[in-house]
């Protein structure tokens, strides 16, 4: 019973993770490239801005 429950949990989580995380990002990560899916925590610590923040001061340089 427990074994089946564990299998079910793992399969459900795997399906959820495949849906949530793009497969291309996973392949990139295996190949050694960082991307938005697999480097968010370290980016947060390093103070990297979010994508929408990049355009905030776009007009200031002109």
């Amino acid at each position: 019973m427990k074994n089946r429950l564990i299998l079910l949990v793992f399969v459900c989580l795997f399906v959820m993770s495949v849906v949530q995380e793009p497969v291309t990002d996973t392949i990139d990560a295996v190949a050694g490239a960082t991307n938005a899916t697999y480097s968010t925590s370290i980016d947060d610590q390093a103070g990297a801005s979010e994508e929408e923040d990049d355009d905030e001061h776009e007009g200031e340089d002109e």
């Binding site: 564990i6 959820m16 990560a29 899916t37 370290i42 610590q45």
Partner: protein, 197 residues
Amino acid sequence: MTLILTTSMLTTLLSYTFTKSIRKYSYILYVLAGIIALLASEDANTLSMGYVPFGLFLVVMYTGVLNKSVLKKRLLMVRKELSIIACILLASHVFPYLEYYLDEVGLFQAKFSFYIGVFAAIVLIPLFLTSFQQVRKRMSYKSWKSIHRLSYVFYFLLSIHLIGIQNDRQFMYLILFGVYWMMKLYEFIQRKPTTST
């Protein structure tokens, strides 16, 4: 999470298929894991970000709550080897992150999950050292067992560390560890001897 779960599934499959070989060539695997950990710690990758070691630890963790079966028997046979390999690979996550936080973020500016991660790594040291047969032979079973009860402390700290990162995978970590702790609690209640009045 895809990487973590894929690692767990592959580890389970390989452990089930090559149980005897893993035991026989364990030291070769440790050396290989050490070389990989050294090479991987330079850049951000699946090892240095902790996904692969965590995938291995998941197998070690869940082996303890499996029902009696051929799978459990085979996984128990290589549990020690899997934990040692996971510990060696985890070094490629612990040291670069420690260096990064100390150099770039500052010791007192880090997030809560960082400190929990450091505690988890400290708890892992005696577990790692006493996993080797040579060390284990020099200890009594009682003292070895009491040290290895620390593995629950490590799993607990690991769960807090991962959930505390608060990334997109937080919900999945909650399920993964929630199910584990619920099963452990159930096992504990089942094992508790009933007192006769």
